[in-house]
């Protein structure tokens, strides 16, 4: 379809090598021929075949972004960040959804390896990390967003989930709440575990015992938050405040509270985690813990690139500071 180097060489009356050199701006090529070649290339509509190039250079300028669910508003923002940074550097990014399944995660990783991506950015879908370690051992580079893996071929970019959750719950404690529920996300996911830990620590440091009745697991989606909260609210001693493992869940919580005819924040206060775009809607005004999603995406790509260039192990672990955003639900 598009002409090849061979075609150009023929028309220009020079060798393959010369054309290739001219095209790649090598210094050892005379002005005259370079211009002739470049001109001809444009005229003939030459488009280098990145596949062929990749085969020889072993660099595809392609990375894989694998995350649980692009439909969760947290992820589009980080995706945006990595995509933007990537395309600025001439990289393209494969998008893969795992639907929180570690099997699908592994399948995607596998497929991407075959496609010879230059690296991975992954938001782990579970605590099942063996397959991730395997690809790192195989020499692949990766940066992990939320989810720590210690391996010289990887860097982790995480928000301090424990600290964030602690801030959230302490905020509620300071408001006078003593009966605070926890509506979690998908089980066995680091994000969820850490946020639970923060919740726990906050309560403990205030000398308040855990009430297991008040602790439930959802699915990181609205539906889960809704269903689980209904149960919580029908307890004998219902919580006066709820900390949700993420904003989507918190939206479900809000809905449940309203559907039970209770007022927010008077009857029950709620705080979420993530600060997704919609948390700030005047109709919602969700109190939450913010993390710099877009920047995390950009940073992730930069780190990946950096690992590939100077292949000394980059700083292994970057911990971002969470920020409490107080709005109207608490």
């Amino acid at each position: 379809m598009s002409p090849t180097i061979k075609d150009i060489a023929l028309r220009a009356g020079v060798s393959y090598a010369t054309v290739s050199r001219a095209l790649n701006n090598h210094p050892e090529v005379s002005k005259a021929t370079r211009e002739k070649v470049l001109h001809l290339a444009k005229e003939m509509g030459y488009r280098p075949n990145a596949i062929a190039r990749g085969l020889v250079t072993k660099e595809t300028r392609t990375i894989g972004l694998v995350l649980p669910d692009i439909t969760n508003p947290f992820f589009p923002e980080v995706a945006r960040g990595v995509e933007e940074a990537a395309s600025e550097s001439g990289y393209s990014v494969f998008l893969c959804n795992t639907d929180w399944s570690s099997e699908r995660e592994e399948e995607h990783l596998h497929a991407l390896m075959q496609k010879q991506v230059d690296g991975f950015i992954v938001a782990p879908s579970s605590d099942q990390l063996t397959h991730l370690l395997k690809i790192l051992d195989a020499g692949c580079k990766a940066v992990f967003i939320s989810g720590v893996i210690s391996h010289p071929n990887s860097v982790s970019i995480i928000i301090d989930n424990v600290r964030g959750a602690q801030m959230a719950v302490e905020h509620l404690l300071k408001k006078g709440h003593r009966q605070i529920g926890f509506v979690g996300g998908v089980q066995d996911v680091a994000t969820n575990n850490e946020r639970f830990l923060g919740y726990r620590k906050a309560l403990e440091s205030w000398g308040i015992g855990l009430e297991w009745d008040c602790i439930r697991k959802g699915d990181f989606r609205r539906e889960g938050g809704l269903a689980v909260t209904k149960e919580l609210l029908r307890l004998e001693e219902r919580p006066t405040a709820i900390f949700a493992a993420n904003d989507l869940t918190a939206l479900g919580v809000l809905q449940a509270v309203k559907e039970e005819g209770l007022a927010i924040p008077q009857d029950v206060a709620v705080v979420g985690f993530d600060d997704i775009q919609f948390a700030s809607l005047p109709e919602i005004e969700l109190t939450t813990i913010a993390q710099p999603k877009f920047q995390m995406g950009r940073l992730a790509f930069q780190k990946l690139l950096q690992m590939n260039k100077e292949d000394g192990p980059a700083k292994e672990r970057i911990i971002l500071r969470p920020k409490l955003v107080v709005r109207k639900t608490s």
Copy 2:
């Protein structure tokens, strides 16, 4: 890193060709050697190099998804659909954001062509279609989501925007509104133009003249809707209802109305377009026009695949039916 066919051939004591055949399940290869090869391949951890394969087969099992902004909740759902369908068929998808810029769209298309994608799914960022036609003429296959292009190498999947907008506005008319404002999206985008056309038609068919003062353009985002609506509401004869070109814009409209101290829907009714996930939140309950986003994504991929297989031109144009979802803002 990973062994190659050559390596396996050496260890198995057979030729490249035989190994390749065994690996690809060709019939002409004896049970014995097939098993030997397969076993060895597994043992040695063989991973086919898709890049090399692509070079010879001219099929990368890779497609490009280029859309304006993954951060707009309309798009993650369609992205999800295409990604899911794609991975079921062993395809990977490149994600590209154009930020509504036709130049960036062109750049991305260019880059993806070099990467030899098997096809494109694009949600056009403007009415600037020449570069799209160019790639089609160059032999690329593409399916367009919202945005019609007539070309044998493409199929368009669109919702009937005109009809949808008409439904929205007629709904408002039936509710008794006569002063209906339009808050648009990015200019020169088919989606926006068509929705405006529907607005116009509805009014005309009810014998109501257009008031240009009531017609404003936004940016398909909340911010735009907010700013523009503030102006609208300060008009001498402010509209009693507003049709927004998409839901994100509608959210901005809602906010503006509230900030001006007016009640919804009593003082001003509003209806949007898209039915994004958040339109159904109890706090929002936005009346809107729904489109089957996820299914559009899946369908888009299926059509693309189909065009590639049987390369007779597929049905060129698929028009989906919009659906009015009445909630509490009208």
